[in-house]
């Protein structure tokens, strides 16, 4: 009984967390207090629901409990006493809207508050991920390459700024969008990436991220229909997600893109992705997400043609590294050129990359070492075993590590 209730609380927390925090924060202007109040409400649910049963509308129950906490906290702090009736009234109204299911764009307002130019650029995406998906500092820190304590302190400070400087919760005007949209798109894509990186499905908490990221990407494209990059991002995640069922074989082993059974790819998702990519292209403003979506579109065309048009993919990557140079893009570009011109050409591009950003910058980057190991293995270089063992050592998924050992020869990276 308790286990089932815990599962229900878990499910509600996963599917509703972002919407509830967004709504509580946009009413109070205090993100940290909203998160705390919802946290308390979830704890209360864990003790109350097993005794009295799961309420008919769990979200409304959580909201009522969180609202009470927020109003009590407001009274205790003796802050804005005069504002309390207004706060209570606003929450009453919004609570009704919630049951009608019309508060979805509160999340958008929250994301744009986190992406405000007054927030440090490096903190915008982590802040969004924490606010909307409830990821804690320990989970966010590695993805943004800082220590967990540092990440924690920066998140606290950013939330205090939103509250104390009164950063507004609103969707920006058209002319303000370019400055703010990138952080929002990046956060949604990071949520998607953080989700399916985990191909073994070992981490329970991560699994909920993929559907949530796709929901958010749909929401962005729907609410910002004239933004090519919003459609680009949606096309990108849909194209990637279309291959979801083919990523593991019957025994649960990781299957790389080149070996995937294309009949398992979702035609519906591919078609939907193509429609959004076409829509994006009519905007006449090319951007990194549209280019990445176009690359995935070319990969997915294999399901119709049986072939992958690598020269076109390599060309799109050439454009992408110019538009948005990142280590990940540079490595993916080298991998595409390996398909077109061979391992030697790819190695040249990898050397070019380390020449630009230094050896240290790629020391912990798994895809770099996988590609280097593959190229050196193909060319019979004596350094190949070393690269292979680094690639395997950097792989967190045991199944992917097993795959690499098979591909890169026996005895590698044990």
């Amino acid at each position: 009984m308790t286990d089932t209730t815990a599962a229900v609380v878990d499910e509600v927390a996963r599917t509703s967390y972002g919407r509830l925090v967004a709504y509580l924060a946009s009413v109070t202007g205090d993100l940290a207090a909203a998160e705390d109040a919802l946290g308390d409400a979830l704890v209360a649910a864990l003790t109350t629901w097993p005794e009295r049963g799961v309420p008919e509308r769990p979200e409304s129950w959580l909201l009522t409990a969180a609202r009470r906490t927020l109003i009590d906290a407001g009274r205790r702090r003796d802050v804005a006493r005069a504002a309390l009736p207004a706060l209570a009234r606003a929450m009453e109204e919004r609570s009704e809207q919630l049951s009608g299911g019309v508060i979805s764009d509160d999340r958008l307002r929250l994301m744009f508050a986190c992406a405000h130019p007054a927030i440090a650029p490096a903190m915008r995406s982590p802040l969004i991920l924490q606010a909307v998906l409830g990821l804690d500092a320990a989970r966010l820190a590695p993805a943004f390459l800082v220590a967990p304590t540092t990440m924690g302190q920066r998140l606290v400070r950013a939330k205090a700024k939103i509250r104390d400087a009164r950063v507004p919760f609103r969707v920006p005007e058209r002319h303000e969008l370019p400055e703010r949209l990138d952080a929002v798109l990046d956060a949604v894509y990071a949520a998607y990436g953080t989700g399916w990186d985990d191909v073994d499905g070992l981490d329970e908490a991560r699994r909920g991220l993929v559907p949530e990221a796709i929901r958010l990407a749909r929401l962005l494209a729907e609410l910002l229909p004239d933004e090519p990059e919003a459609h680009g991002l949606l096309a990108l995640v849909l194209h990637s997600h279309a291959r979801h069922d083919a990523r593991r074989d019957a025994s649960g082993d990781y299957v790389p893109l080149a070996e995937q059974d294309v009949s398992l790819w979702s035609r519906e998702l591919i078609a939907e992705a193509e429609a959004h990519l076409a829509r994006a292209m009519t905007g006449g403003r090319i951007g990194p997400y549209q280019l990445q979506a176009a690359i995935q579109s070319l990969h997915n065309r294999r399901s119709a043609t049986g072939k992958t048009h690598w020269p076109a993919i390599a060309q799109l990557y050439d454009g992408l590294v110019r538009l948005a140079p990142t280590t990940g893009t540079a490595v993916a570009r080298a991998a595409a050129h390996r398909e077109v011109e061979g391992a030697a050409a790819a190695l040249l591009l990898l050397d070019e990359l380390t020449g630009e950003i230094g050896d240290d910058a790629v020391a912990g980057y798994q895809p770099y070492w996988v590609l280097r190991a593959l190229c050196e293995h193909e060319l019979g270089r004596t350094t190949a075993p070393e690269a292979a063992s680094r690639a395997v050592a950097l792989t967190t998924s045991p199944r992917v590590a097993a795959h690499l050992r098979r591909t890169l020869g026996p005895g590698q990276g044990t």
């Binding site: 003796d78 804005a80 400087a165 950063v167 507004p168």
Partner: protein, 119 residues
């Protein structure tokens, strides 16, 4: 909610205040800004400051007072004036900071004021 808009100016701007050729333009831009702020109904207080070389900085350590000639920090830009505005949110405050003349040649800092105790 109140915000402090702090205008920081460099030596050239302070010199422009008394420069025969530049002073008219300098003061006109500030008068225009103050007029617009007044008309908006948001202005709650303001003050222009004499140049930084008129400043004295006081510190008390171990009960002893020291007075230093000049502002508390030697930086290229120094405080030239301030405005206190009543604004509903940061975006409104940033909008008025952007229109402040010093934004175009110096820098303008926006800080929320602490709420008055018991408010």
């Amino acid at each position: 909610m109140q915000y402090l808009i702090l205008a920081a100016e460099d030596d050239a701007a302070f010199a422009a205040r008394d420069d025969i050729e530049r002073s008219a333009g300098y003061w006109e831009s500030w008068q225009g800004y103050i007029a617009a702020l007044t008309e908006s109904g948001l202005l709650a207080g303001a003050g222009g400051l004499q140049p930084p070389w008129t400043a004295s900085t006081v510190r008390v350590r171990d009960g002893r007072r020291t007075v230093q000639d000049g502002p508390y920090a030697e930086t290229k830009e120094q405080l030239g004036g301030y405005f206190v505005i009543d604004a509903p949110d940061l975006d409104t405050a940033l909008h008025w900071a952007e229109r402040c003349p010093a934004a175009a040649y110096g820098s303008v800092e926006v800080r929320p004021l602490l709420p008055p105790p018991g408010a």
